[in-house]
Symmetry: C2
């Protein structure tokens, strides 16, 4: 008996990835290329079609293609609303363009929600009914599973967790506002804080275990900012688990004590025992989650 298979596509501002995924979440074939981010939507759609032709020359048994895209996108209507990292992706019916190019059912999803689905179905959140997936990289994104369903909201735009204010009129954020969680706890913010002392987050994480006091202090501070936002997410969504992904996950074991310390201080008692765990699927979470949406 042949198992159902689906295509996952992960559109990033830098890399474009496509994978053929089976119903157990295993990647059967995978291709990646540099996104033609400045060439307009039609060029990227053609890149997607070319990748899919490579990973799935035979379409037999393929149920569809799930698309993970950076936001803001309106996933109810399949529209890109003005994606800052992709030129020309403004009020573009990207889902139907890809559907036409591939001649397959297509489902469009915000990238952090797609990754949350991947972790839920096949990663660190398997079997749970309620989870929050947090991706900490250039910015902070999130995807929420609640009551056994993906939380989407109006236009599929729920989970923009990086832009909750945690300091009124605080540090400037890339979104134009001030005091967003992302402005303090993203990989970008961490890299900026460590830059007088370390060339990159990886080197700070490498120096901390040997007791370098500067590295320890910077990692503790980063963990504290992460913990503030995570405690908020516990109160807002009441997950069974918080899953941390993105580039920062490399430092997870070093960050966890500081995160836990802040969460224990900030969360009400009934929320304090919720586990905080690292993502299991790494950079493939979005690809696998996108495919899972059309299985």
């Amino acid at each position: 008996m042949s198992k159902a298979r689906a295509i996952g596509i992960d559109i990033g501002g830098t890399s474009l990835r496509a994978a053929l995924v089976d119903s157990s979440g295993h990647i059967l074939a995978r291709e990646e290329t540099a996104t033609l981010a400045q060439a307009g939507p039609q060029a990227v759609v053609q890149q997607i079609a070319d990748l899919v032709a490579k990973i799935a020359p035979d379409r037999t048994g393929i149920t569809g293609a799930g698309i993970s895209s950076p936001g803001p996108i309106d996933t109810e209507r399949g529209l890109a609303l003005g994606v800052p990292t992709l030129a020309g992706w403004s009020d573009i019916p990207i889902a139907s363009m890809i559907q036409t190019a591939l001649n397959l059912p297509v489902r469009l999803e915000n990238d952090a929600i797609a990754a949350a689905i991947g972790e839920w179905k096949f990663g660190a959140g398997q079997g749970l009914s309620h989870l929050v997936y947090v991706t900490i990289s250039t910015g902070i994104g999130g995807g929420v599973i609640a009551d056994g369903k993906v939380l989407r909201g109006r236009m599929g735009m729920a989970g923009h967790i990086g832009h909750m204010t945690i300091e009124r009129d605080g540090a400037p954020c890339a979104c134009g506002n001030r005091g967003c969680w992302e402005a303090y706890a993203s990989g970008t913010a961490f890299a900026r804080r460590i830059s007088p002392h370390f060339p990159n987050p990886k080197s700070a994480f490498a120096a901390a275990p040997s007791g370098d006091p500067r590295a320890l202090q910077l990692v503790t501070e980063q963990a504290d900012w992460l913990g503030i936002g995570i405690a908020n997410l516990l109160h807002l969504f009441s997950p069974q688990t918080v899953i941390l992904g993105g580039g920062i996950a490399n430092g997870f074991p070093l960050l966890l004590p500081g995160i836990t310390h802040r969460v224990q201080a900030n969360a009400m008692p009934a929320f304090r025992d919720v586990p905080i765990v690292p993502a299991a699927l790494g950079e493939n979470a979005g690809l696998i989650g996108a495919a899972a949406m059309v299985m």
Copy 2:
């Protein structure tokens, strides 16, 4: 043809209310008494049974009883977990105790979620798929409808929106943490800020329209704190509407300009056009919502 009817019960630390509600959300009968908050759970259960006997001497066609309770409660298991305003409500199977006393199917819900259901089914949120209900009174509570479903989360404890940090290590909150939204924007916080100048919020709201500069400044400040949290909720849940209820709703027309100003400044463009509206059902939202849960 007789319509289905259900009982709604709203347990408060001060008042205990019960209503018989029809399938259009109309209250057919209503009784209220002072809660025996210090007498233990069994006494309150007896009060509930007495009220229900008054409003529904005939049980014909009654589908069940929905219970709105202050938190923290575990609505998955029907347990009160340690309600601060009700003595002895700690690890008590309150749902099954009421079910036994009434001999009716019972469903237990957090009070702010029950009120959100009331506004969704029969109030300011009718016909919507995504909304956030915010109640601003002694504290701040919330209930979320997303994707056409009530958002409950682990133990039914989602929506504790008053305890998101909006200032790291900020003003002390009743929960023991610092910097919670509730510590700045609740009715209690507002009353504290105005207390050197006005005896109560009502008098500040009364003085503002005539141009009293102190009243205007205090109302504007309150609106700003409200707007910070509301902008967060837009990013987190992506509702189609935010509904404001609780005691503060008396000042809604005076607060709305300041709330809107802050939301426009803090929210990303795709979230800025979401209406912020007053609750329609007033203090009956919880009663009606509780009844709606068992219809």
